[in-house]
Symmetry: C2
Subunit: 423 residues, 2 copies
């Protein structure tokens, strides 16, 4: 039995003009993979009718065709009309749907103080569907659809990612999509997250442990300066994939930091929470990025107290109590100042644990002794401290992003260090 084949068609002229990076393709492809359907390709086209129709025809040659975008009320939103043509179906008005879209549009008209007549053509257009299409819900005035054709099932979803993800749920639950899913076999999945090992080191470890094949496939992906390994296995290969995951975990033990999808900032906050510790940061070159990552987690306020972004030297002195003499003798970018910043953050912000970051993010400000990319980190807690000196490659954005991730992992290591020693 071969895996059902899935194709994602994304339409939007801003996407094909390079103005925006598409998020729906990766989301839908990930869903296909999770369901055991082969994500064969993602096709991004603009609103040119010929290009879009050709893409939809291509999509209908797969078992499942997931389409995003082009459902709006205007003439250049052509997905539904072209899908009907590609599938050889008549277009018919769905009266019930028309009533629903009319209600929403009358609300819009009222709020915008415009006559409803302005909306009427759009309402009729959005209620016109390929014969036999199943309406799975409405996003604003745009209906999501499921259409069974000869040999394929097409799912049409609105372009805004949050709407698309909301309507994907009823689409997935619909009978035609479930019939495709039933022909697939949901793979087993094992997740391993590494930090501090290169992609090639992880690839070699995987190969030496036996590698892909025999029902197991792997993705090794450098993301956010971490290495994310996902192992997928046919149901029969469960033992082999478990064994492979253990082998990898063992071979790369010093670098393994998670066996689930929690981000490092979540791990740091969880480690603090478990031990009832509070947290703060003192940041120079990262300019608040570490604090922003930590506070991106819902509920971080019970652990995170705050941060001082000390860009100017006298802010380092005034707000973090870094001695002027230290700044003069060692310079703002130094291990000594990083340590003083961390101590200052703990004291001034009343936190048990603090991370300090100071460095040269570039492009200016580098010297032969302190080049662009030189970053000092210092994590300090109740039971000790961990300093780190890094020389990071890349431009300003890369140095800042990398220093942020390195800082979060340094905090994680500091907090894990004593974990097994406490009674």
């Amino acid at each position: 039995m071969t895996r059902p084949r899935g194709v994602v068609v994304v339409t939007g002229s801003e996407l094909v003009r390079g103005e925006r990076s598409d998020l729906n393709g990766p989301f839908l492809a990930g869903e296909l993979l999770r369901l055991g359907i082969e994500p064969a390709r993602i096709l991004i086209v603009g609103d040119d009718a010929a290009e879009l129709e050709e893409a939809l025809r291509e999509g209908l040659r797969a078992d499942l065709c997931l389409v995003s975008g082009g459902l709006g009320p205007t003439h250049d939103d052509r997905t539904v009309e072209l899908l009907a043509r590609a599938a050889g179906r008549e277009l018919v008005v769905d009266p019930e749907l028309e009533g629903e879209i009319e209600r929403v549009s009358r609300g819009f008209a009222e709020r915008l103080r415009r006559p409803y007549a302005d909306f009427e053509t759009g309402v009729r257009k959005q209620a016109t569907l390929p014969d036999g299409a199943l309406v799975i819900g409405v996003a604003g005035t745009a209906p999501g659809l499921v259409l069974e054709t000869d040999g394929a099932v097409a799912v049409v979803l609105p372009g805004p990612p949050s709407e698309l993800q909301r309507l994907w749920e009823p689409a997935l639950a619909s009978a035609p999509v479930q019939a495709v899913v039933a022909r697939a076999r949901v793979p087993e999945r094992r997740v391993l997250r590494f930090y501090g090992a290169g992609e090639s080191t992880v690839a070699r470890a995987l190969a030496e442990a036996g590698g892909e094949g025999d029902g197991v496939s792997a993705t090794i992906c450098a993301r956010d300066f971490e290495i994310h390994v996902d192992l997928f296995a046919e149901p029969e290969a469960r033992e082999r994939v478990d064994w492979l995951a253990e082998e990898l975990a063992e071979r790369l033990e010093p670098h393994l930091f998670a066996r689930d999808e929690r981000r490092v900032e979540e791990l740091v906050l969880d480690l603090c929470r478990k031990r009832e510790l509070t947290l703060a940061t003192a940041e120079s070159c990262t300019g608040g990025l570490v604090a922003a990552r930590l506070t991106s987690v819902a509920g971080s306020s019970d652990v995170f107290r705050g941060a001082v972004v000390a860009y100017a030297n006298d802010v380092k002195a005034g707000e973090l109590g870094v001695p002027e003499e230290l700044l003069e003798r060692h310079g703002a970018v130094s291990a000594e100042v990083a340590a003083a910043m961390a101590a200052g953050a703990r004291e001034r912000l009343g936190a048990d644990v603090a991370l300090a970051v100071t460095g040269v993010a570039g492009p200016g400000g580098g010297t032969p002794e302190k080049p662009v990319g030189l970053v000092y980190l210092h994590a300090e807690g109740l039971e000790g401290a961990r300093p780190a000196e890094l020389t990071l490659p890349g431009d300003r954005a890369a140095v800042r992003a990398r220093a942020t991730v390195a800082g979060l992992h340094l905090l994680r290591r500091l907090l894990s260090q004593f974990r097994h020693q406490s009674p």
Copy 2:
């Protein structure tokens, strides 16, 4: 004369598995548009040979086919081999290229302390090219290529975005690509950036001003809570596009903030720099995101002094001098506390201008009086202040991102307000 048609083929199994959002497609599509070549579609495929070959065949039916990825030394990097097959070319070893890749690989082998023999197969593979291909440069050990086929030109570039962008330059300069470019006509481009107007308002203004057509096309794109309008015009339509840009600027004057591509944080820093003002932020719910945006700009340190991220209430009191009594009476999320935070940031961080942000980012912490999404901003300078109360939709990340952008635009407005009044 019709525009030459361009297709982008992106290969990478992690992309088709939804693990990473592709950046190369948008970059290359944007380049096509800039050159006057129609960016017809972006095709993303994995490393399955049949899928990739079919995608390359499709690409070769366009005038220009830009290919990203699949150039590595291992057996699942198949782009070159499959391009040769799709183009009907023999594969031949390029001895000069082989020498160059060998040199690089011997360096790797030494650094990794592995025998060069481990690399030999890979070197031979990477030096094997379709007959007639032009080598335009090497990224690591991966060569970039230009190949002329019957009716099409294919450009093959490495997958890592920085390498791809570096090798795109010599590819663009190569004779075969220049021959395609010569058949295109580089469009005129006008840029308008709006804040505070909806996408549909901008679309209506454009339509009322005469709209697209007669040699002018437009993209209206909501990005980062701003509306970005790009007008493209055939060389003959220069007058019409200038007129259209003026019309749009006039109709939406209160919302227009830029006629170039500078981001709002750059505008804020430039406004400060011109008037020799220093800047600071005091952030609660945005957790450092405003500071991070401001410091993302190279050279921001001559304007930006620092920030206090005051997550805990006693940090607001201790580090920003917000009176306890104010916090008790009005609550941390209030116009009064926002104003006190801004004043505190100016005083404590020694800045002329400050922005304060306090709000309920959610998902928890909302009450009937102060629901999730309620955000108070306060921008204060030497000559006055601008407060703002917002109710923002969306999840935690959306509320934080939107509050950040709103804060930056509030600073821009405050700083622009007095611009025309100074002598």
